[in-house]
């Protein structure tokens, strides 16, 4: 079924660069998600969890080094700038993103189980949460294409809940998809946002064609002049017009091979993309940093117009109460954030330097006293038996870390424990 169609679908521009490797990773993921595979019956791929070694004997995948190798590839791809330790790429941190859902009849195809639309909606929910987690000052709006007409599903907003609620409603698929109508609609909306924001569109396209009322090339030029960065994730095959759109506007075009690949491609759009400097004006935005109220305080909140007890934040300018941050004060319009929200974006601008790989045999050759334990978790770095044991070291503080800490530090923690624990090092 889906195994047969996979050969026909386009697999261009997907990050793994090798079909066999990707299947191995998928099989590994399925081993882990055995319990919650929605009864999809993925036993068909169980044989791919095995590999042959040099003698032709079967052995299970060495998942630990495989996971680490994938992580290294992701890391080096992301920081593909020349490896100067102070390479700081400017990123668009205040993003106004419209996500366009294709609800044409192509989205009701069942090659993604249960249907393309359901898979897209589920992954989009995870994407929206991840997006607001990584970009707390940004806004998302949702647009749908159905019956050749584009309609706005939700207004652009800064809180994930209202967007996700709209996604959970019934979404029916019918008719044709019109790329031009979607772009025209989004272009109209994105004209109204402040000049310091980065304008982006992400189109999740299932159809293989587009039915447009006019010349789509003109629309693409209009979007390019309005500095809107358009990206597309295709679910079917590569289409020239999408590729042209993305190339013209500086976005990325990827085509998904299956559900897990689609989710991976979608989540890659959560971190901020490298910004083109003249795309958004640099401005000083006035923001307020409210205090959280004590538990017993009773007041009327300005967002729900209800009486609330305890908690809540007070706008420093007009003293109105808002329920959660980040928000815009409904009374005076001041953007309200807390400093943890701003701090969450700093790691995009100042990423942790990738660590260098070191094999313990190598360092003992240099007559150095190789540390026996990982600096951060105290796990032993000595090898077991004849497995080649790899560990990494930070180029700035020269501390040694194990592979698991390496992944954790670069993907979640965004802090090198060695650099943070030494004052004498220059920041």
């Amino acid at each position: 079924m889906s195994g047969g169609v996979a050969a026909i679908r386009g697999g261009f521009d997907h990050p793994m660069g090798g079909d066999g490797e990707r299947k191995k990773r998928r099989a590994e993921e399925e081993e882990e998600d055995d319990e919650d595979n929605d009864g999809r019956g993925m036993d068909a791929w169980a044989w791919e969890a095995l590999q042959e070694d040099e003698a032709g004997l079967l052995r299970p995948l060495d998942s630990k080094t495989l996971v680490h190798a994938q992580y290294r590839k992701r890391l080096l791809l992301r920081s593909s700038a020349p490896s100067s330790s102070s390479s700081r790429i400017q990123k668009g941190l205040i993003r106004y993103l419209y996500v366009v859902f294709d609800l044409s009849r192509a989205a009701s195809e069942t090659d993604y189980r249960p249907s393309r639309m359901v898979v897209v909606a589920k992954c989009a929910e995870a994407f929206i949460r991840e997006f607001f987690d990584q970009n707390p000052l940004s806004h998302i709006g949702l647009v749908t294409i159905k019956d050749g007409v584009a309609q706005r599903l939700t207004d652009i907003g800064g809180s994930p809940e209202s967007q996700i609620k709209a996604l959970m409603g019934k979404l029916e698929c019918s008719g044709d998809a019109s790329l031009q109508n979607a772009l025209e609609l989004v272009h109209g909306y994105l004209n109204q946002i402040p000049s310091y924001g980065h304008r982006e569109v992400l189109i999740l396209y299932s159809a293989l064609n587009t039915c447009d009322p006019g010349d789509i090339m003109e629309t693409i030029q209009k979007c390019k002049q309005a500095k809107i960065r358009c990206s597309v994730i295709g679910l079917a095959a590569e289409i020239f017009i999408c590729k042209h759109l993305c190339e013209e506007t500086g976005g990325s075009y990827t085509v998904a091979l299956d559900e897990s690949h689609f989710k991976e491609l979608l989540l890659e759009h959560a971190p901020p993309p490298p910004a083109i400097a003249e795309y958004a004006a640099a401005n000083l935005i006035k923001m307020g940093f409210p205090q959280r109220g004590a538990e017993g305080v009773i007041s009327i909140c300005s967002c729900h117009k209800e009486i609330k007890v305890g908690g809540g934040y007070t706008c420093p300018r007009c003293k109105a109460r808002v329920c959660e941050l980040p928000a815009e004060c409904k009374i005076c319009g001041l953007t309200l954030v807390s400093s943890p929200h701003l701090a969450r974006s700093y790691h995009h601008l100042f990423p942790v330097t990738p660590f260098d790989e070191v094999s313990s045999m190598f360092s003992s050759k240099l007559n150095q006293k190789a540390p026996q334990t990982c600096y951060s978790c105290q796990e032993s770095l000595a090898g077991h038996g004849n497995k080649s044991n790899l560990h990494v070291t930070c180029p700035k503080c020269n501390q040694h870390f194990c592979l698991n800490c390496d992944i954790y530090i670069h993907e979640s923690l965004h802090n090198c424990p060695g650099c943070e624990s030494h004052r004498s090092l220059p920041m």
Binding site: Q90, L93, L137, D155, I156, G157, Y189, Q192, I193, P194, S195, Y196, G197, A275, A281, A282, N283, L284, I285, K286, M287, G288, F289, P290, Q291, R292, G293, A294, E295, Y313, P316, L325, E328, G333, L334, T335, S338, S339, P340, L342, S345, L349, C374, Y375, S376, C377, Q378, E379, N404, C405, Y408, I409, L413, N415, P417, E420, S421, H422, R423, S424
Partner: protein, 269 residues
């Protein structure tokens, strides 16, 4: 100045990582004040022992936060397991902790001599809390990796402030992670605060009334003067916070000449 700790949960069993602040500038200044360092240790070490007594599977890790370095002091799992806690064991643990702490503080002070002397004067330097927190989180990750398959572990950060001032940073950290923030009023009874509030495991916390802070200070400090502000200007490129309008951002060098729109938006639902 503080003893922050993080815990993880599996039934009643806790892993508690205690981050002890050994900032010599603070402790030297407080010998004539409320709580000398030796008294402080006299309260904390019995607290650590009592944690081990609460449940035989509890694990305690002590990490010291210095001004020039951070390091592991004690890990109850590495001693090869303790079959029975008796008087000799408790004394052994205490003396191990004290010896290693002394070595750490001496080493920390020695590291200071090598670095910039000018920074060592004045009103003291801050402790490297972010370093010890990072180390603690990596350790917790390691325990979770080798244990049962859990999703992201819940790690509340509890803060116990021993110094004179409230710490906005730890207030925020404890609030966001769901931990307890406490600044004890009577420091000579510190052990009682520790044992009553911070020794509770995560399962019990759902039906205990633990102290809540009066409010959480989410204000930011400006990059130019380091003073706390509740309204400021944020550079749209690098998110640096300034208290006054400026022509150029000092962090990213962007030209900020345009007059600031006061974040008004045309569309409103």
């Amino acid at each position: 100045m503080t003893a922050a700790q993080s815990k993880l949960y599996s039934d009643d069993v806790s892993l508690i990582v205690v981050l002890l602040d050994t900032n010599p500038f603070f402790w030297a200044a407080s010998t004539s004040g409320n709580l000398p360092f030796s008294n402080f240790l006299n309260q904390v070490i019995p607290f650590l022992n009592s944690l081990l007594l609460l449940n035989q599977h509890n694990q305690v890790v002590l990490i010291a936060t210095g001004v020039n370095s951070c390091d592991y002091i004690y890990d109850s799992a590495e001693a090869g397991g303790r079959n029975s806690i008796d008087a000799a064991n408790v004394a052994a643990i205490s003396s191990t902790i004290l010896n290693r702490l002394e070595n750490f503080v001496t080493k920390d002070a020695r590291l200071a001599k090598g670095s910039d002397k000018a920074a060592a004067g004045g009103n003291g330097i801050s402790s490297l809390l972010s370093g010890s927190l990072s180390i603690a989180l990596c350790y917790i990750q390691r325990v979770f990796r080798s244990g049962a398959r859990h999703p992201e572990p819940r790690v509340p950060i509890d803060s116990c402030i021993v110094g004179p001032q409230h710490s906005a940073f730890l207030q925020q950290a404890s609030y966001i992670t769901g931990g307890v923030y406490l600044k004890p009023q009577h420091l000579d009874g510190l052990f009682q605060y520790l044992a009553a509030v911070f020794a509770s495991d995560l399962q019990s916390r759902s039906f205990l009334r633990l102290p809540k802070p009066v409010g959480v200070d989410f204000r930011a400090s400006c990059f130019c003067h380091k003073k706390t502000i509740d309204m400021g200007y944020v550079c749209s490129v690098c998110l640096s916070i300034f208290c006054k309008h400026q022509k150029m951002c000092s962090t990213c060098g962007s030209d900020l000449n345009q007059s600031p729109p006061d974040s008004t938006r045309v569309s409103r639902s």
